[in-house]
Structures are given as C-alpha cells and as structure tokens.
Amino acid sequence: MNTCSKCGNQQIIIQKKHSGQNLCQECFIESINEKVLKDTRKYKLLEKGDKVLMALSGGKDSVVALHILNSLREKNIIDIVAVTIDEGIKGYREEGIEIAKANTRTLGIKHRVVSFKEYFGRTLDEMRGQDDTRQDDTRQDDTRRQGDTEPRHACTYCGVFRRWILNRVAQEEGATKIATGHNLDDETQSILMNYLEGNINNLIRIGPKSESRDERFTVKIKPLREIPEKEIGLYAIAADLNVHLAGCPYAGESFRREIGEFIKELSRDHPTIMYSTLRGFDKIKPILKKELTPKGNTGECRRCGEPSAGELCKACSFLEGWE
C-alpha cells in the first residue's frame, strides 16, 4: 500500500512521479509552503520591509501565492497590497474579481481593482473589436503580424497593458516588489516559446526575479516558479481555497496553449521534462544575458512617461495606432 513518505498516513493525495515521493494532504500542503518559502530565500525574492504588490487575478496561482506570502506578512517581514486587473473580458473576469475580493477580505489585505477601461479608455474586448474591423476577412493566422496594421493576438495586448498597469500601480502604492503567480508550466512554456520564435530579448528576461537596470521598473518576482501547475491546483483544493476555476476565452487562440499542450504530452512519459528545461535554461541564462543584452539606456515614453527603449512604449504605440 502507498503511504505518505513523510508521516506514514495511508490517505495519500499525490504520487510525485519525478521524485517518487507520496504525500498525504497535510504533508503536501506543508511541502509546498516550505518549497515556496525556500525558493523565496534561495533566489532572494524578498527582503525584510518589502511592500509587495500581489497581482491577484483570483485564479488558483495568484490566490495560492497570496496565501503563502501572507505567512510572511503575518510575521511582519513584508507588507502586501493586492491588485486585480479588470481587462474587460465579458463573462469571464467578473467572477475572478469577486473571488479576489473575498480572499483579500478574509486575510485583511488592502485590495484594488483597476481596469483597462480606466487606464486606457477601452476594454480588451473593445481592443479586439477594433482590430477585427481593421482586418480583411481572409486572415487565417491570428499570430501573424507584418507591421502595425496586422491583427495581434488578444494575449499580446493583454500582456503589454497588464505589465504597464502593474508597474504604474506599484509606483502609486510605493511597492518595492511585484509578485505574480507564474508557475513551472508557465516558465517552461515561456522558455520554449521564446526560443522557438527566436525572441532572444524576451528569452533572457525569464527568471525568478526581474533584473532591469532601470529603477523605474519595479522588480517582479515569481515565488511559484518551480511548482507545477497541477500541484498548485491540488494545493488550492487541498487547502480549500476560494479560487476562480475557469479558462480565459482568448487562451484557446494562443501559441502558448499549443506549446503547453506539447509539453504536457511530453511530460506523460518524461515526468521530469519541465524541471530539466528550467534547470538547463537557468544554467545557460547568465551567458546568454552577458552576450546578448541590448546595449544602450532606456529612455522615457513621450506619451506616458514610463521607461521605454523607443520614443513610445509598447502600450502607447498600440494606443496611438488606434487613434
């Protein structure tokens, strides 16, 4: 009979194929808490006195990250303020917002809900609508783009505008770190996607902690970076957390999803593949970064004042394109 590798309990809830470890509910929750806090120390993600802006969608990853980081807040090591971004995805985001509110209320954490509409004058649905009216009907591949008039994927807009808002809200709140719920699946997908697309600038930015030379960018941290997505889902259920379990309606269109399915398929017969992808990447990254980091200083976007390599930051170049 399978018993918990730590305490001998016969009711196990996970058999970790990559390590051979079996864990009961209590020991599994404890092991994830320990792993996340150990990684937080190992990668120096947090320092005493940090004010952390938690990017809280209400989904399992950010809610789990919030609850684990809250243990540091309870010990007065850090302070946390949470922000939920309402991108304006009708029929999807509303429930996540309510769940995010409920979690922060339970924990007594300050929470803000900010929206694309409020900061950019339009929702993600409207951005997509604007693009649709600009396309010709023969478009087949939504990921193709040749110049500014070609349509982009919803995830491209969402990523750019979310990053912009997170950085702006971090400044407004005086936050010293921005924490996100990125997990092991997300990271290995990003490594593979950027490599396959030849996007070396983005590839060398992947890591547990952002390392921008520009102080105007608040440092971003990923405390769950080495936890597989499935284990985060299991943690959320095992710890009986209130999480939003639903898929973004735009996700089905993305290249990330294709890559994610490919990695999942590989993982069935090779359960360590995500760990080895991450470990291998982390080893070569310092060399890539040293050799390939673009030279030159970051300037300022002439429209919004945020740091930008060009005259306009990415968010403002989209906005100007629609005007």
Binding site: Q11, G247, S254, K264
Partner: protein
C-alpha cells in the same frame, strides 16, 4: 456497479466494472488526468485509487490551458 460522477455542472451515473480505477474512469470519460483533481466521497484521491459501488466522484478541473 454504479457510481455517481460530478464534473462541473454535470451530474452523471456511470456503470463501471469491478476493480476499476479513477485513471480508467477519466480515460473512459476522455478527461485528461493531468488537468483535474478528483475527490472520492469528498476526500482527494490519487488516480490509482479503486472505485467502489455507490462512490461519489467529484472531478474538479484545475488546468484550463492558455
């Protein structure tokens, strides 16, 4: 033997043979096991868990892709 299966909004009654596992049930229902957590009679179980007559199985989708 018969078991009750709850999957999202769906409430199903499934006929399964003796010594059937959660893994086999997920395969029968065409649900990828790496995307769900399963509770048997309200307790989380692993996919090798055997199903018994009258069990209530709740399949909770935790991974949505994207």
């Amino acid at each position: 033997m018969q078991v009750k299966v709850i999957f999202g909004e769906e409430n199903l009654t499934e006929d399964v043979p003796e010594d059937y596992t959660i893994k086999e049930l997920l395969k029968k229902l065409e649900i990828p096991s790496e995307t769900v957590v399963v509770k048997k009679n309200e307790a989380i179980v692993i996919e090798e868990e055997l199903i018994q007559e009258g069990d209530t199985l709740e399949i909770i989708k935790v991974i949505f892709g994207g």
